[in-house]
Amino acid sequence: MKDLRTISVTVNGTPYSREVETRRTLADFLRLDLKLTGTHLGCEHGACGACTVRVEGEAVRSCLMLAVQTNGKSVATVEGLAKDGKLTPMQNQFWEKHGLQCGFCTPGILMTMTEFLEENPDPTESEVRDALSGNICRCTGYQAIVDAVLATAAQARGEQ
């Protein structure tokens, strides 16, 4: 027996109202119901961070959250970062510094690191590495990601 609920969620500023199965994850809701496929699934058990989105500003793993838990809340995904085709400073730094290869981990990392820099605008390298340690990247060895995040922070502080 399907257990259905109707939820209202604002995603990247756009309000949506949808009927969903209560067991539907937030990740599947975004990917399948809203066709926002930028949020990726790398493990579905909360370990890789690829599925990270922000709910009410807080970075969460959308594979571990149910869609119904976001009822009445706002969700931000990677699709909402660039505005009018203009990349955010962090996206630009990832491009400059070669902070991505296959790009599969990238959306989750961008969402995690965007929140991190809001909370810690002047981090050390080791703080960045610690904050990044919930996101797995198999391609880059992290170095270029760390450099991109540090450069974004420096830029925001007007040092670059």
Partner: protein, 780 residues
């Protein structure tokens, strides 16, 4: 030809889409009326299938079909998966059916495919398929599989040995009987799996009206997958198309054809609907190929000056349950042991053992890290026994640049003798040692030790066969809108082919890379292809891009010269036009030339002219191009907790001429991180019934940002003479020497405690155990 892009760190064409969530991976593709699949897999490592009852699953709401071996199309019931690389010494090849027929040979082997309206229902239904299994004896370890009376990993097999193959050069008996010193080591090495972030996945769309089969698959090369489909299904060439969209990492295992792909196609044929299967992470741990175990029993003979006289021994290799790639993996291992050293006599026998575990095929490095580990541990042993500096022992044995090309004397897995084409191995090591201030390390170590801190330094040197043949093709075509497009069978998984190949082509036309589009991963774009693995794309596809680009540019010049009534040499190509050199400002646009080159309907082409601005090149290297590298690690080991901290890691690397330094650095750093994982973290754990115990990222540890060091890279650029660009491969060079560099550093740090290390990976628990064992030895 002006050089504008080649050699420059140009930002990648791929990135804007990836950064904004517009990447298109296989799971992002949705076809109308698509159904979703999940697999019933074996819970046992070896068992007979007595019966399968799918009636309850079939009766569930939303379930469309449950397909077992018996419901497969006839050709799939007759044919097992094709053997990709048959060789004579593979006397006991083993290949699976698409779905297990009467026997399962590893945990995770596919037994049935369930097709449902969505993935949630498909997974619910999997749990309702009742499979009655009768357990059989299990070969859980490759050495145990060789013991007398060991169970057989396959029913009815005479032996568990897939292949035995010697690699021999020189007079090994003389080398050992004349040697001043002989040292023996027994070395265990384990590498886990690839663990790309995007799991495997495929969508099959069989159109019953046209009888066309279209398969989207997350792969490292569409043409070999197409070939397997061809061999398994009776489908006409024109009706089969394989497409690989963006791929979230490959590292080797996505280069294989897997049973799931055929099963998904069969499901689409049976249901008349497109069927999608996306591997979940647990399946990825049990059903995607890995590398796992190698046991090496080796000895080295040296003279009184630590000069190597010979190396001999055996490699016992865990092949897993099937042999899709034959013995490619252990063969690469035995051919890589000699590395950058002069080894007058060599005799290594590989024994590949069929076990009841998921098959092993190449993962980034492809058996080479293990080979390098063996050689470098032996040299450490020589240094220790003879009281010499490890770097000096290596210096005394290096092949010198003036000895190039250097014939190692063994045969590589491409059937060609291992002949190093170029490289300066002594210099490569010196650069790394200097960068890390090796000379002063002994002092640093002494000072640290006096404070009770255990620091150590370790070296790894490697030579790597890259750019393996047979070929990779590139078609360059200029459309009548003036656009330049390059089509290739080389399929990227993050390596930036769309940028680097564009750099090569752009230079022939004097345009920026934005003017060149690179299309990959579609069998309808180019007739043949091999795919991306073995660090082969820069050499093979790169050279083809160069040759095809050059040919089209030549034709552009010829046609423009004809129309502008000058000689072809008077034409230069810049910014999308072919212009007459000098001040005249007479030119033709690429667009005009492309239109002209097609001819006018009803008119004859100009004499001698072939239609279109198009050329296809299939560059075929005569042999591998040999890249080389030195990794030097400095670590600190916490002897209370066993934790290893990598203080510094220097990588000196020669991959020939570099197309895009930023991209190469990215490959090297990523490769080093993989090496860190293999040295310290990654381990597939199985129990004695070959039941995998590490099937998620909590139990299997990948290196995280806080675990990997900043990599300090130093490039040499020794152009390879084997291809027109002088390039060599770069995708695996970071991984190969790094594992042993870290382990050597740990061994060096713990040397004062009498610890001997002959294995990887080294977990903290294992390090504590090794320290305790050393203590016990010293007390005894």
């Amino acid at each position: 030809m002006q050089m504008r892009s080649f050699g420059q760190s140009i930002k990648r064409k791929e990135d804007p889409a990836f950064l904004t969530g517009k990447g298109r991976y296989v799971d992002d593709i949705e076809l109308p009326n698509m159904a979703h699949a999940a697999f019933v897999r074996s819970p046992l490592a070896h068992a007979k299938i007595k019966s399968i009852d799918a009636s309850a699953a079939r009766a569930m709401d939303g379930v469309i079909a449950v397909i077992t071996y018996h419901e497969l199309p006839e050709t799939l019931r007759q044919r097992r998966l094709p053997l990709v690389v048959p060789v004579e010494s593979l006397t006991n090849p083993r290949l699976p059916y698409t779905l297990a027929r009467d026997e399962v040979c590893y945990v995770g082997e596919a037994i049935a495919i369930v097709v449902a309206e969505n993935r949630y229902i498909a997974e619910d239904a999997v749990a309702q398929v009742m499979v009655d299994l009768e357990p059989l004896g299990v070969v859980a370890d490759c050495r145990a599989g060789l013991l007398e009376g060991a169970p057989r990993s396959h029913l009815g097999a005479d032996s568990n040995i897939a292949a035995t193959m010697p690699s021999v050069t020189g007079d090994i008996d003389a080398a050992f009987s004349n040697a001043r010193h002989v040292f023996k080591e027994s070395i265990f090495q384990h590498r886990g799996g690839a663990f790309f972030m995007e799991c495997r996945g495929a969508i099959a769309h069989y159109d019953q009206f046209s009888e066309n089969l279209l398969v989207y698959v997350s792969s490292q090369g569409v043409h070999r997958i197409k070939r397997s489909f061809h061999e398994l299904f009776d489908i006409q060439d024109s009706k089969l198309r394989i497409v690989t969209p963006d791929v979230g990492g490959g590292f080797g295992p996505k280069g294989s054809y897997y049973v799931e792909y055929g099963a998904v196609a069969a499901a689409s044929m049976a249901t008349g609907r497109p069927v999608k299967w996306i591997e979940d992470r647990r399946e990825n741990f049990v059903a995607t190929h890995q590398e796992r175990d190698q046991y090496w029993d080796v000895e080295i003979a040296v003279d009184e000056n630590a000069k190597i006289l010979g190396v001999r021994g055996t490699l016992t290799h865990d092949n897993g349950a099937y042999t899709p790639w034959g013995i490619v993996l252990p063969w690469i291992s035995v051919a890589t042991v000699p590395g950058p050293y002069v080894i007058p006599a060599y005799d290594m026998t590989l024994i590949s053992v069929i076990t009841n575990k998921v098959p092993t095929t190449p993962v980034r490095g492809a058996g080479r890290p293990q080979a390098v580990f063996v050689m470098e541990r032996l040299l450490e042993r020589v240094a220790k026994e003879l009281g010499l500096d490890p770097a000096e022992v290596r210096r005394r044995n290096f092949i010198k640049p003036e000895q190039m090309p250097y014939d190692v004397g063994v045969i590589f897995r491409d059937g060609r003798p291992v002949v190093y084409d170029s490289g300066d191995y002594p210099k490569c090591q010196e650069v790394a040692l200097e960068a890390i201030n090796y000379e002063a390390f002994a002092e640093r170590q002494k000072a640290a030790l006096s404070e009770g801190r255990y620091i150590g330094i370790g070296i790894g040197n490697a030579v790597e066969a890259t750019g393996l043949g047979p070929y990779e093709g590139v078609t360059v075509r200029i459309g009548t809108n003036g656009n330049i497009t390059a089509y290739t069978g080389a399929t990227p998984q993050g390596q930036a082919h769309k940028t680097t190949l564009a750099q090569i082509v752009a230079d022939h036309f004097g345009v920026s890379i934005d003017a060149v589009t690179v299309e990959t991963g579609d069998t309808s774009n180019i007739s043949f292809g091999i795919g991306t693995f073995a660090s082969r794309t820069a050499v093979n596809a790169g050279s083809s891009a160069h040759l095809a680009g050059q040919a089209v540019a030549t034709k552009v010049r010829e046609i423009a010269a004809q129309l502008l009534e000058v000689e072809p040499d008077d034409i230069e190509l810049t910014d999308g036009v072919a212009r007459v050199k000098g001040p005249s400002n007479r030119f033709k646009t690429l667009r005009e030339l492309a239109v002209y080159s097609l001819g006018k309907p009803g008119f004859s082409l100009a004499p001698g002219m072939t239609p279109g601005l198009e050329n296809t090149a299939y560059f075929t290297p005569t042999q591998s191009s040999y890249a080389n590298g030195t990794s030097v690690a400095e670590v600190e080991v916490d002897v209370e907790t066993g934790r290893v901290h990598i203080n510094r890691l220097v990588m000196s690397h020669d991959c020939g001429r570099v197309i895009n330094p930023m991209v190469v650095d990215g490959q090297v750093v990523g490769g080093v991180a993989h090496g860190v994982g293999n040295a310290l973290f990654e381990r597939m754990v199985h129990d004695d019934q070959a039941q995998p115990l590490s099937t998620n990222f909590g139990e299997y540890m990948l290196p995280l940002a806080a675990d990997v060091p900043r990599v300090e890279i130093h490039h040499q650029e020794t152009a390879s003479p084997n291809n027109p660009l002088g390039v060599k491969g770069a995708g695996e060079g970071g991984t190969i020497p790094t594992i042993v560099a870290i382990v050597n550093a740990v061994a060096n740090a713990l040397a004062p405690l009498g610890v001997h290390i002959a294995e990887a990976p080294l977990s903290p628990q294992r390090i504590i155990q090794l320290i305790d064992e050393a203590k016990a030895r010293s007390v005894a």
